[in-house]
Symmetry: C2
Subunit: 200 residues, 2 copies
């Protein structure tokens, strides 16, 4: 059976570190770069090495950045008394694009999951508590995912906030906009019904 040359096999294997890339896609990507876009491949290699070496996290919110403070935390236009707490860095960009929220963020990079060894320290909750104590933050919005672990994490952080007399809210559960009731799962429906609001 025909085999790829050692370097080509190694490239195909290395491309599989990307999420959602199986053997077939990796092969397609390797051939594409080597046949049609060597310049792009060279650029990707250079940027990737630089990013892996230099990108760390923002000292305040743990967003990925190569600077000490991310653009959000260092911005003068943001309301520094409100903090939105999310699980992943991608959530920050999703929320910021969709809403007019203008406060700061805090990225947990995970959720409480004692069985996997993820406790408060791994999520940076000690730093968060310190910031709660400092008194600058007056309101937090809990935007962790609506899974069991996400809920437990929200609950834990809410307790911390209550102890510092900080106002706590949670993003709303309900029927997705544009969705049809008939296809919505019962957990969501039950939340949507229980969380109904005055019609204006």
């Amino acid at each position: 059976m025909a085999e790829f040359s050692p370097l080509v096999s190694e490239l195909i294997e290395a491309l599989r570190c990307l999420p959602g890339v199986g053997p077939k896609s990796a092969q397609r990507m390797a051939f594409h770069i080597l046949q049609r876009d060597r310049e792009g491949g060279m650029r990707l290699a250079r940027v990737l090495a630089e990013a892996v070496a230099k990108v760390g996290e923002c000292r305040y919110c743990r967003i990925l950045t190569e600077q000490a403070l991310c653009t959000i935390c260092s911005s003068g236009k943001r309301d520094r008394s409100t903090l939105c707490i999310v699980e992943n860095p991608a959530d920050v960009y999703a929320l910021d694009q969709a809403t007019d929220y203008s406060g700061l963020y805090f990225v947990l990079k995970g959720r409480l999951s004692p069985l996997d060894g993820i406790g408060p320290a791994e999520l940076g909750l000690d730093c968060l508590e310190k910031r709660f104590c400092e008194g600058e933050i007056r309101e937090i919005v809990l935007a962790t995912n609506s899974t069991v672990e996400g809920e437990a994490t929200a609950q834990f952080i809410a307790e911390m906030a209550y102890n510092n007399a900080i106002h706590v809210s949670r993003i709303a559960y309900g029927v997705p906009v544009g969705g049809e009731l008939e296809y919505v799962d019962s957990g969501t429906l039950s939340h949507a019904f229980a969380g109904r609001r005055e019609y204006r």
Copy 2:
């Protein structure tokens, strides 16, 4: 609106050189590497740079390889009198995995397409003709795609082979194995019917 740090944006942009990777997947890949697999990212950067710099093509068959001759052309176990002609390097591996063909291959890296400036020279047909003249090759199997350009290319190469008294065959068109007649397009059906063979 929140912005990625310059290096993170650059990484997301650079990942888009990969085929089938849009803005969302690129963002997901960048976050995955930076949050969960820096080692894999570093390895990918290194292998990618090395492959782009070193991988060229086999002197005989134009398969991608970093050696002068690919493993197929340098193998002593292959039948050197038969040459299978394909459009892309990936076709070589697909055919070699699926069939018991044991001859050599020749990769065109494209098909005749005068409007796009792809003529016989771009496909290496001059080298191919020289090999036809040398007399080692006694049979060729045309495995270009069954598109208009693929057909034209096959026709062109067949003429070259006839001039050197080389036996020419073309891989069979027909109904895909496991397919249902009802869903097969009419061009394929017509080829399958015209190309019917004695039932044994």
